[in-house]
């Protein structure tokens, strides 16, 4: 019921976006499974997973846009929430390996046997259960965001200072996860996964299913974010972004509003990470790298901050360009990304989707005013100037 209400209230941008996702959920699997390999129309399985990976990034971008675009919180640490969700999934996948590992230990993952550990650490308990692992993919990033936000927002850390401490957070996690004694596979991370929910993770059908699950997660994530930003809550969020002290003196507890958005966003990023890991086949501490979080900000800026759809579009476009450029000209990729960011901030400050909406709004204005002129009605005089 809520869903149908949401769908009827969607703007054209949202409808186009969901239609595109629905199409992607049907067409890509059909082109992969039904069209024989070698045919020009066939989408190879590796490409399905690649697209799935882009869509995970798109979900991360939507999560980031929720806090940056609508509440002005420029998080440079969202990669950490993504990576934590990824580790939760990775831990489940590790425990599914069981006796098929090199050391054939039914309980302990290989790296623990290698480190001479005798027992499974407490942090790994329960991860043989898929529902538990998925719960953790939501709860762990959410809890970290909640605790972090609790202190940061209460102390009224804002702007560039907040951005810096989010970077510090992801960097601290990077260092922690590098350590072998943390028990998360250290430098090498978690890999060599065998199956998920009993299905071979390399199998074509599994890959397609993971891809479809990602499309669905992105659509749901978008709908949740959209419901939040169009509710009364979202209005307050935007108010806080525009004039934080005005909101405070109107009686809004700004820190709580921020905390809700930040925590929800982190949970969403965690889901994105959890879907990412089985499709790329590995999770290691480099996912916590500061550069990852910064790249995510660039996707949102390119696509259009504060539009949700734009964030997702930006993530897919930039990553598609990245794949292409790193293949064609590996040396210049980074310069390309930098140049893109500069071009966008200078010429498309509202990103691709923002620029498109402005253009269509202007067109409508022109149409309206020419229609008014034909009818002999001048524009309304502006009020006291």
């Amino acid at each position: 019921m809520i869903l149908s209400k949401l769908l009827t209230e969607l703007d054209w941008r949202g409808r186009v976006f969901l239609l595109a996702l629905a199409a992607a959920a049907v067409i890509v699997p059909v082109l992969n499974l039904a069209i024989p390999e070698g045919s020009a129309l066939n989408v190879p399985t590796y490409a399905v997973s690649l697209l799935g990976k882009y869509l995970c990034y798109a979900l991360l971008a939507v999560a980031l846009d929720l806090v940056w675009g609508y509440c002005g919180i420029l998080s440079l640490g969202h990669g950490a929430f993504f990576a934590l969700g990824g580790y939760a999934m990775g831990m489940y996948l590790m425990r599914q390996i069981g006796t098929r590992g090199v050391y054939a230990n039914p309980i302990l993952p290989d790296f623990m046997v290698f480190l001479n550990w005798k027992e499974l650490p407490l942090t790994w308990w329960g991860f043989q259960s898929f529902p538990y692992a998925m719960l953790m993919a939501l709860v762990v990033p959410g809890l970290l965001a909640f605790v972090f936000g609790w202190f940061a927002f209460r102390s009224r850390v804002t702007g560039v200072y907040l951005s810096i401490i989010t970077q510090a957070m992801t960097y601290a996690l990077l260092l922690a996860f590098f350590r072998n004694d943390m028990g998360f596979g250290g430098n090498n991370g978690l890999t060599d996964f065998k199956d998920i929910l009993g299905f071979n993770i390399q199998a074509q059908a599994t890959r397609v299913a993971l891809y479809v699950a990602t499309v669905i997660a992105l659509a749901l994530g978008y709908l949740v974010a959209r419901a939040m930003v169009t509710s009364s809550y979202g209005k307050v969020l935007i108010a806080i972004r525009d004039a934080e002290s005005r909101a405070r003196f109107l009686g809004y507890r700004v820190e709580r509003y921020k905390l809700v958005a930040f925590t929800a966003s982190a949970c969403m990023a965690g889901v994105a990470g959890a879907l990412y890991v089985p499709q790329v086949g590995i999770i290691n501490p480099s996912e916590f790298a500061a550069a990852n979080s910064i790249e995510a900000v660039i996707w949102v800026a390119v696509g259009g901050r504060g539009t949700l759809v734009g964030a997702a579009l930006g993530a897919v476009l930039v990553n598609w360009a990245k794949t292409w450029l790193t293949g064609a000209f590996p040396e210049i990729w980074l310069y390309g990304l930098g140049a893109l960011f500069i071009v966008v901030t200078l010429y498309l400050p509202k990103g691709i989707v923002g620029a498109l909406s402005e253009w269509s709004a202007r067109r409508q204005d022109r149409l309206a005013s020419s229609a008014a002129a034909e009818a002999g009605v001048g524009p309304q005089p502006a009020g006291a100037e």
């Binding site: 939040m228 009364s232 809550y233 209005k235 108010a239 525009d242 003196f249 109107l250 507890r253």
Partner: protein, 254 residues
């Protein structure tokens, strides 16, 4: 704290006694004492840096005083509360620089200010949609922005933004309004309209107005307090204060 039987205290909406605030050793407020009665309108004048805005910061919980009492309604100690709680008690504030929610429409600016629950939890379930339209219309009518309700606040003129912010205060329906320089940057006609607007508001609310424009202060026709270097220099009727030698010397005579 002063005795509870003090009539000045019990009959006041706002009571400041011996309030001092220092910024890095500089005394912005220096043992400031002032009493605003229920339903009273008061104009505050004084040179730049006299501490007028700082006084509002103290009342609204933005700045904690180093010493002194700040009591609301004769009993509530404002120095122990944060901005949101003070707003909830019924104190509204207009900033010196007009501050509205630029990417919201005029309508939504008023909507967000309307009295009602403020928690993040209830907002997720849409309480703002239950605000009564006629109350909103009333406010827009009062501040003369009814024809502009669909426009973005960012597109309003400077004077209209000032009015919108006053409208937001009205929507909040506080017991006490603190209005910092409402006519700065307004034309004479706008200034006059604003004086009328504030006088109308003062019929049902206590209002404290900070202003430099002496014509405007005169038009308000209320008691005037002149601040200087963080404390009260003179207080009384406008003619009394504006002819006070010290006031002329430090402020009006410049």
């Amino acid at each position: 704290m002063s005795s509870v039987t003090n009539p000045e205290l019990t009959q006041s909406i706002l009571y400041l006694d011996g309030v001092s605030v220092s910024f890095d050793g500089f005394r912005a407020l220096n043992s400031l004492s002032m009493v605003i009665g229920h339903g009273e309108m008061r104009a505050i004048i004084g040179p730049n840096g006299a501490g007028k805005t700082t006084m509002m910061d103290v009342i609204t919980g933005k700045t904690r005083p180093d010493e002194g009492d700040v009591l609301f309604d004769g009993k509530v100690d404002l120095t122990a509360l944060d901005e949101a709680s003070i707003a909830e008690l019924g104190i509204g504030r207009k900033f010196q620089k007009p501050t509205v929610f630029e990417s919201h429409t005029v309508d939504d600016n008023i909507l967000l200010a309307m009295k009602g629950p403020r928690s993040a939890g209830s907002s997720l379930f849409g309480w703002r949609n239950r605000v009564r339209d006629d109350e909103k219309d009333q406010v827009l009518e009062t501040v003369g922005l009814k024809d502009h309700r669909r426009r973005l606040a960012a597109d309003l003129s400077h004077g209209q933004k000032q009015w919108l912010e006053i409208g937001m205060l009205l929507a909040q329906d506080p017991k006490l309004l603190l209005v910092d320089e409402p006519v700065a940057g307004m034309t004479d006609a706008e200034t006059e309209q604003t004086a009328e607007l504030l006088a109308a508001i003062a019929k049902t609310h206590a209002v404290v107005v900070v202003e430099h424009d002496m014509h405007f202060v005169r038009a308000l026709g209320c008691k005037v307090t002149c601040l200087h270097e963080g404390s009260v220099l003179a207080e009384g009727a406008i003619d009394q204060v504006s002819t006070n030698d010290r006031v002329v010397e430090v402020y009006l005579g410049r």
